[in-house]
Symmetry: C2
Subunit: 587 residues, 2 copies
């Protein structure tokens, strides 16, 4: 194609709100145009990259036996109500009524729709397994759409759903999808990690994320330096930590700690390692149908609460902060909260001054981090202004709710090999889930098994952020001049730049090289614009086409220049050799 005929509106200025390189270069390179917050047009170059990304995904999925469908984007709310997600999804689910007041949503994901399809048409184990996918629009009414294609509202997703008659077969497909996704992202030239992940609002039994490593990633990934363990911080496990520091010896007692409210102050006040302090975090958990409650989360002072883990531990939709007023209204003393009521119930306080009844708060749900199992010699808030308890002992306490709610830290030990855990940043581009019967059961999607019995489908679900991939690729492949597209997803593989379009010889040679490359199947752009050479070079660097062939003054010696975008290395090549030279470089 000819640059002079194409709409490639490269810009000098980046959008004011753009901070990420991908956002800046996709807009400046003429790939996308924002029409509303989180809604983008794909211009010719953007559409071209999108199609290459889609084609790679489709080829690998079809090879793996998946079948492509296309589901309705505007979908009736009915199924969302049956699955219980109509409320759970919150404001991100865009709802509206049609002219006859029927309720619809713009599909943010299609579990319900796909289960409905299987329910209609799959009746027997003989039709299983089945893996259906689509590459289609999605809409999520994000509170803060940002970063260009990274976090939009209208976006393109590949969502796949598999149906099985057994857990084993679902796991087999899950593993096949992991392998297929690895092929897909490898073909796109991405450096990525497959990490253990939280299953989030989708629900289910286990999941893995595909993370493109990039400093700008919104996700923190925990990786082990000793083995291949990798996990999203939201799901990262660790070997239960212990402390080298001496435990504070003390009899169970109340201790006056005037104005000592933070872990730091407490640690200093008692000269005690934070490992031996109990940190109390109060949150309000939000559930379906507008229900909510205050929950106290207890951790070692050396740990931080991991909110996603904490949310999962109580089955809430979301955790939000609680005001001091609300805490006080619930009988809690901010700054001095602790699991005192449990300690009192365990009747270990006999030798100590009696607790006032009013400090008890038996109706408040409490969750203990699993590292507190059998913890002893602990110091915690007394739920009384200016008082802490020392010598607290959690051993022998019954019916406590323990869960992994602490955030893994850099330097923690790997649960698998004992190696050292490190943090890195990633962009989530894929997520695969072992769903089980999370949707098939409430939606009563069943099949007849070999014994003639009705059973709900065992399911997996598999997603790829298709439009986000354009951003992720650039985050990993750019420099200070612009994007550097890997060949398989580049808008063009080569650009032939005619240095001076008024020079008849340059023009003629440029046209010939362009046509020769085209006839060899190379996706080539001819920069035939009446612009200065420097201007064309800047566009080449900004757009990030992997190779440029420059027809310039060296033509007098029978030479053209071949420039590699990633290194900006240049070499002179004889005109007759340039086509082969380009093709070799691309391999």
């Amino acid at each position: 194609m000819r640059f002079s005929k194409l709409l490639i509106p490269t810009l000098k200025e980046a959008p004011k709100d753009a901070v990420l390189p991908s956002h800046i270069y996709l807009v400046r390179g003429g790939f996308i145009y924002q029409v509303a917050s989180g809604v983008y047009d794909f211009l010719p170059l953007g559409k071209k990259v999108l199609d290459k990304v889609k084609t790679i995904i489709k080829e690998e999925l079809d090879n793996a036996g998946c079948q492509e469908v296309q589901l309705g984007f505007v979908t009736p709310t009915e199924l969302w109500k049956k699955s219980g997600r109509y409320e759970k999804y919150g404001a991100e689910l865009l709802r509206f009524k049609d002219r006859k007041s029927n309720e619809f949503v713009l599909g943010p994901t299609h579990e319900e729709m796909m289960v409905e399809l299987a329910k209609q048409f799959v009746n027997s184990y003989k039709q299983l397994p089945l893996n259906l996918y689509q590459i289609n629009l999605k809409f999520r009414d994000e509170a803060r759409p940002r970063f260009g294609l990274m976090r939009g509202r209208e976006f393109i997703m590949k969502d796949g759903y598999s149906f099985h008659d057994s857990h084993e077969d679902m796991v087999r497909e899950f593993n096949l999808m992991e392998e297929t996704y690895r092929k897909i992202f490898t073909r796109m030239g991405l450096d990525f990690r497959v990490v253990e992940a939280d299953s989030g609002a989708i629900g289910g039994e286990g999941s893995k994320e595909f993370m493109v490593l990039a400093d700008s990633g919104e996700d923190t990934i925990v990786v082990c330096d000793g083995c291949d363990y990798a996990a999203n911080i939201e799901a990262a496990k660790r070997k239960t930590p212990d402390s080298q520091a001496e435990a504070p010896e003390a009899l169970l007692n109340r201790f006056r700690t005037p104005d000592i409210k933070t872990i730091e102050d407490l640690s200093e006040f008692f000269s005690v390692d934070p490992y031996y302090l109990i940190k109390t975090v109060a949150k309000k958990a939000l559930y379906d149908e507008g229900k909510s409650e205050i929950i106290l989360f207890f951790l070692r002072g050396s740990d931080e609460l991991q909110e996603v883990k904490a949310t999962n531990s109580v089955g809430a939709n979301e955790l939000i902060d609680v005001s001091e007023e609300e805490l006080e209204a619930a009988g809690l003393v901010p700054g001095f909260m602790g699991p005192v009521e449990l300690i009192r119930n365990a009747k270990v306080l006999e030798d100590t001054p009696p607790f006032h009844e009013e400090i008890a708060h038996p109706n408040i749900k409490k969750v203990f981090d699993e590292t507190l199992k059998n913890a002893s010699h602990m110091i915690c808030g007394a739920n009384e202004k200016d008082y802490h308890i020392v010598g607290a002992n959690l051993t022998n306490l019954k019916d406590l709710h323990f869960a992994d709610i602490a955030q893994t830290k850099e330097g923690d030990q790997c649960a698998k090999c004992g190696g050292k855990l490190k943090f890195t940043k990633g962009i989530e581009v894929g997520h695969i889930f072992q769903l089980g019967t999370r949707y098939s059961e409430p939606l009563k999607a069943e099949f007849l098994d070999q014994n003639g019995k009705n059973r709900p489908f065992i399911m997996g679900t598999y997603g790829i952020g298709v439009s986000r991939l354009l951003a992720a690729i650039i985050e990993q492949h750019h420099d200070e001049k612009g994007s550097i597209w890997p060949v398989p997803v580049a808008p063009f593989e080569v650009v032939v730049i005619i240095g001076n379009i008024k020079d008849e010889q340059q023009k003629e040679v440029g046209e010939k090289i362009y046509n020769d490359l085209k006839s060899k199947g190379v996706d080539v752009l001819l920069d035939d614009r009446k612009e200065r050479f420097g201007f064309k070079m800047k566009d080449f660097e900004l757009i990030g086409i992997p190779y440029a062939v420059v027809i310039g003054k060296k033509l007098a010696d029978g030479c053209v220049e071949l420039i590699e975008r990633s290194t900006l290395n240049r070499k002179d090549v004889m005109v007759d050799d340039i086509v082969n030279s380009v093709i070799e470089s691309m391999q």
Copy 2:
């Protein structure tokens, strides 16, 4: 691919509301599934056909120099308000608010969005011409979604928009698009006509529709038996008709016509050809911002009102019926209405009994069909109960609003060649418009011309009903057993049917033929299901794959059968020759 692994849920029963063959066979053949009124899922076969249709469209458009983009589907209302279509579009435009109460619509078409894009990025005549298109979702909240994919709410459309610096260049592109569309529909194996059309709500200067000829078409097409003239009935022109019958001689006078209200009764009562009667049709015209008014349309008694022409003649959005009560309240006498007030104003009534003032209705807008120009010897209602006027003469009347508002009839004469006009039915699958500055002007989308002057873009717009094409193809290609897909858009080109899957030899030969065809690039399906042969044949006929290779009992003689779906002709072919035989048949 293997039938046993694919989700192809063929059904014995058609949906209860399905009347069209395409609706019945798309559902029964396992191509689509309805999720809500006018919203469909595309199952694997439907998606496959859709992709083939899309590919043909894309190839031809790209060859013609068009550039593919993808615009936001969820679009801000702002531009719709600027273009004046926010009100005009009515209830079909689905409107909603996001979580921040910003107003959006689901794009039913994208003129506004595309103009906005050009406005942003095209500043100079040097960047023109430009033809941008997308193949994307659309949503129109139809009052009566019906006929499967024929008239849905969510559907897939190709919409293209071209930008020019002159009317001539726009017409050149319009003609190029006509030629390109002809190639596209020809490649799909369609018998179609290109007809002159009404420009409807899109507005503009001229348009043509691409009509697939089919008895079930919702559109009536007028074609000439003498030349290539063809037009939608909404836009069809004709030679001004005259009558062989004698004109009724009478002096201008009131005439008592008790209870004679219809054209038929009047024609009989006076023994006069309806050509000499004036038919009055009262309608209420609806305009923007809720404005409306009663309008009287006058035609010869031998003609019928063409509502689209009539709507256009007064620039209304829509015409609706008026109740007798409303007519009476406006001073009109139903059954006896006529253009009497104009006649009185023309002072030709001096010799006749005086008219009562109350029959005058000077404030009601009146439109005369152009065939009434200079009409004389006419009979019309007197706007007085039981009275008509005879000897009415429209010559010498000034300032009448004449327009072509009559419906062309079968047997009328062609305006181009005088040939005989005939009716046929068609399905609209494409529509191209000469838009001019209908959108660029209100949206202030301008470019600098060669003289450095700002001018609005001259535009064209070009649409194809992509998902509707699946239905249109079947309407033209089916029999009583099912669909008969043309090869270029068939879900598979050939199906290899293993008659008895338990017969090892049949299976082996079937697999070999399947693999050989695949390796030759044929899009082949292997029916390897454990079903009866008759069941597999019925599915082949219902789905409508163009060719079947049946491996059955004749294998003993080294033969397989090749069946052509369109004719159901069968012929025996030696196993070694079958691959070549299939490939030859397809050409």
